[in-house]
């Protein structure tokens, strides 16, 4: 392979990116060296096993990936803003819609949600950390390495270009010969291992580490949604693992799982992909529902209406999510009976989802609503998501779907589900839990700019897509003729996307502004909230709770607060056991990344040599008998006294 095959050449935009990436890397390394921060980075962040720091790293990476995926989106919008535009050629457009989809789902939505889960869940159940802190760090680093591996594809070797769904036979070697789709198969495999580990970690954490007295029906709703999401992860991700393994074997070793020749079956890929892919949609949306529930209850100053029905609805959605995958390919040769069954299961999902919507509305009813930025996101979510949900029921009807299938109507639908459902939730969650992570609030005024720009931009961007979709525009079209009459709609849409981008810029500016100027005196409970994470300092100390709280009822903290029972007695303090930092997760994940990179280029000898790194990491890990350390009582007392007036 010559050098100009290795690097992507010939496109000025990509060339500019290559230079920009190179300069940024050099700049970052120089900056860290100049500030003498390497040791600090290594010991405080790279080797940390603290769930809060891991969560923050997830969130940071997720915001970066949001930027990358967002730029992809803007490029697509620019290309289709007018008929016969020439910004992107067909090949480049294919690559961009592929990376946009993969990044937004797997490297933006997932880490942002898992990041918030990491920060919040152990605090909400009154635990000191997750069940397996080191495994948690490994999950993060595997995700991060996978994200980087996927992202370098556009400058080294070429991006995947068969869509985020990568249907066979198109995604096979025969029709997509380059290394692009190898990046897809390998990097998602690495990320998937990390996600599976996260799922197991949270299931065990929530079963085993709840504070004394917190029985199942006294858990905060966000803990419930995280728990059920984790179960879906465990049940669904191994399917994707196998599908990606088959894809890798087909592409790298010439097998015939999904090929048309020699007895392969392309429909097998579709079934396996969506057996994972549909539950995946709920993996990202259920924790988001949990966040909205927390935010709405807090800012309506009421307990969550229908808590139990909320729990059953989430469990019902999780169960049904496994039984609807065929609705992604009604048009691909199923019998009428099969289509009818999956039509029914799909429409049934609207029932528990409707229960949730009404519960939120009833929580708001007669509440003393405070319109904080966080609450605004939750309020905007309800109508926007309902549009997504109702169009989903339209798509669920198999007979009608023959009209909508693979049109822009579908694209508009899932953006109306995923952006209000996930992105709004992440924003609501970030504004809400920011003080718990960093000890200061994000600015509310800039937050309102962020909110209004983003929400207006979002609706302007995606509403027109419903109409061009109904008018017959299929998805993934890189250009169209003027005679179609779509120019005006898509022009509006492109303007909307710029407004949305301005909203995102407002968020970034808000983070910058608040880091520099926001007040550091937020107290432990700045929102007058209901759940346990607000019972400890902001930012939460590394040991979370000096004394593990005891729980008598749902929203225990709220009632204790009312009765003034949140104090801490010195005599109750005992030394706290903490896990030690570890270098194995980051090194092991890096080894996975190197092996993955060699596999992408099918350099098998190098891959085998590099996999020695994985073996060494695993062996080192099994011989590691580090038992952690204890924080002495004096130190606890000192830290608690800093923020508590009520230490007796």
């Amino acid at each position: 392979m010559s050098l100009d095959e290795f690097f992507v050449t010939g496109d000025p935009m990509i060339f500019a990116s290559q230079i920009a990436i190179g300069l940024t890397m050099v700049g970052l390394i120089a900056l860290i060296t100049y500030l003498k921060r390497w040791k600090w980075l290594w010991s405080e962040w790279f080797t940390t096993v603290d769930h809060k720091k891991i969560g923050i790293m997830y969130i940071l990476a997720g915001v970066l990936m949001f930027f990358r995926g967002g730029v992809d989106g803007l490029l697509m919008k620019a290309q289709t803003s007018r008929p016969e535009m020439g910004i992107l050629d067909a090949q480049h457009y294919d690559e961009i819609f592929t990376t946009h989809g993969v990044i937004m789902i797997l490297f933006m939505a997932m880490p942002l949600l898992i990041g918030i889960m990491n920060v919040v869940v152990p605090l909400q159940i009154g635990a000191r950390d997750v069940a397996f802190p080191k495994l948690n760090a490994l999950s993060f680093w595997l995700f991060f390495v996978a994200a980087m591996l996927f992202n370098i594809s556009f400058v080294i070797g070429g991006s995947p270009d068969a869509g985020w769904t990568s249907y066979f036979p198109l995604a096979g070697k025969e029709f997509t010969p380059g290394v692009g789709n190898n990046y897809y198969a390998i990097s998602l495999q690495i990320a998937g291992i990390g996600t599976l580990a996260t799922g197991i970690n949270f299931v065990v954490t929530i079963i085993k580490m709840r504070a004394p007295g917190m029985s199942w029906m006294k858990m905060p709703i966000f803990v419930w949604t995280t728990f059920i999401t984790s179960i879906i992860i465990v049940a669904a991700f191994p399917i994707f693992t196998v599908a990606l393994l088959y894809m890798t074997l087909d592409r790298l070793f010439g097998t015939h799982f999904f090929t048309v020749a020699a007895g392969g079956d392309p429909m097998l890929w579709l079934n396996l992909f969506w057996l994972w892919g549909h539950p995946e949609v709920y993996i990202v949306v259920l924790p988001a529902f949990g966040m909205f529930s927390e935010v709405i209850a807090t800012f309506a100053r009421k307990n969550l209406y229908g808590y139990k029905s909320m729990v059953y609805a989430v469990a019902g959605i999780a169960f049904l999510s496994m039984l609807v995958w065929v609705h992604h390919f009604y048009t691909m040769g199923n019998s009428a009976t099969v289509n009818s069954i999956f039509s029914l299961t799909t429409m049934m999902i609207a029932i528990p989802t409707g229960v949730k919507i009404f519960n939120w509305l009833f929580t708001l009813r007669k509440g003393r609503i405070e319109f904080s930025t966080s609450m605004l996101w939750a309020l905007a979510f309800i109508p926007c998501f309902t549009i997504g949900g109702v169009t989903g029921v339209m798509l669920a009807m198999a007979a009608a779907d023959y009209q909508y299938h693979n049109t822009m109507f579908l694209v508009a639908h899932f953006h109306y589900v995923l952006i209000p459902g996930v992105v709004f939730a992440v924003f609501a969650g970030l504004y809400y839990w920011w003080p718990k992570m960093f000890g200061f609030k994000l600015n509310e005024k800039i937050g309102k700019w962020h909110f209004w720009l983003f929400v207006i931009g979002f609706n302007l961007t995606f509403m027109p897509m419903f109409f061009v979709g109904l008018d017959g525009m299929s998805r993934r079209m890189y250009t169209y003729a003027e005679s179609t009459g779509w120019g005006a709609w898509l022009g509006f849409s492109a303007v909307g996307s710029l407004i949305m981008a301005a909203g995102f810029a407002a968020l970034v500016y808000n983070i910058y502004w608040s880091f520099r100027y926001a007040s550091r005196k937020v107290g432990n409970d700045p929102w007058n909230a209901r759940t346990l994470e607000w019972a400890t300092a902001s930012p939460a100390p590394h040991y979370n709770f000096a004394k593990v709280p005891e729980v008598d009822r749902l929203d225990d903290f709220w009632y204790k607060k009312k009765k003034g029972e949140t104090g801490l007695k010195k005599s109750d303090l005992k030394p706290v056991h903490m896990p030690s930092n570890s270098w194995t997760p980051i090194v092991l994940a890096a080894a996975f990344g190197v092996v993955g990179f060699f596999l992408v280029f099918e350099w098998f000898t190098l891959a085998i040599i590099a996999s020695v790194g994985i073996v060494v990491g695993l062996v080192a890990n099994t011989f590691d008998y580090d038992d952690g350390y204890h924080i002495p009582v004096d130190e606890l007392e000192e830290e608690e006294r800093e923020w508590r007036g009520d230490l007796k």
Binding site: V203, K208, A235, A236, I239, A243, Y246, F253, L268
Partner: protein
């Protein structure tokens, strides 16, 4: 921290309990993984594309020996855990080594079987059927290989440290893993070999 006298050593600490529960959940994920491999095998089983079918290449005698080796190894790993519960370090070590030897024997037979398949003109690239067959058997075999290396490393720790709260919970988890591989093999034996030879 529960520490009743009746609690087995491997369940003594909260962390051990969580490790064991976590591993059970991991085994749940493994069940999904193998179910997917089986389901795909059933989809592709008859897509032989002019190459050999299962009945043409399976050798009943070898399969029976493999089955015998692996089932016995599951029994010996059970004996090993029994010895561990009796705080019998030597017994634990001996039965675990027996388990590993039986596992290695199984692997030897399986590798020979693969060579036989290839000799008969059934490589992983021949057809949809062979791709699914090799991947299902290969994933199981890779698990056995991983188990052998893993348990060997645990035995080193056992020799060095004796039966402690930590080593016992690690070996207990490894035995769960080993039994699981046995269960998977029973399904392979039934739904790949017997079915392939009868139908």
């Amino acid at each position: 921290m529960t520490s009743h006298t009746t609690t087995p050593l491997e369940y003594k600490t909260q962390q051990s309990q969580m490790n064991i529960l976590g591993f059970w959940i991991f085994l749940g994920a493994e069940i999904v993984l193998f179910s997917t491999l089986f389901a795909s095998y059933f989809v592709l089983e008859h897509n032989i594309a002019g190459g050999p079918a299962g009945g043409d290449i399976f050798v009943l005698k070898d399969v029976l020996i493999e089955t015998f080796l692996l089932l016995t190894s599951s029994f010996t790993s059970g004996l090993a855990i029994h010895a561990m519960r009796n705080h019998d370090k030597k017994g634990l070590l001996i039965w675990m080594i027996a388990t590993l030897l039986l596992g290695a024997g199984f692997l030897y037979m399986e590798i020979n079987e693969f060579l036989h398949f290839i000799h008969e003109g059934a490589t992983i690239q021949t057809s949809g059927f062979t791709a699914a067959l090799f991947t299902l058997l290969g994933t199981h075999g890779a698990h056995v290989t991983f188990g052998i290396v893993w348990i060997s490393l645990l035995l080193v720790q056992l020799v060095r440290r004796g039966i402690t709260e930590k080593t016992s919970s690690k070996l207990f988890i490894a035995s769960l893993y080993w039994h699981f591989l046995d269960v998977v093999w029973i399904f392979i034996f039934t739904f790949v070999y017997l079915k392939g030879m009868v139908m």
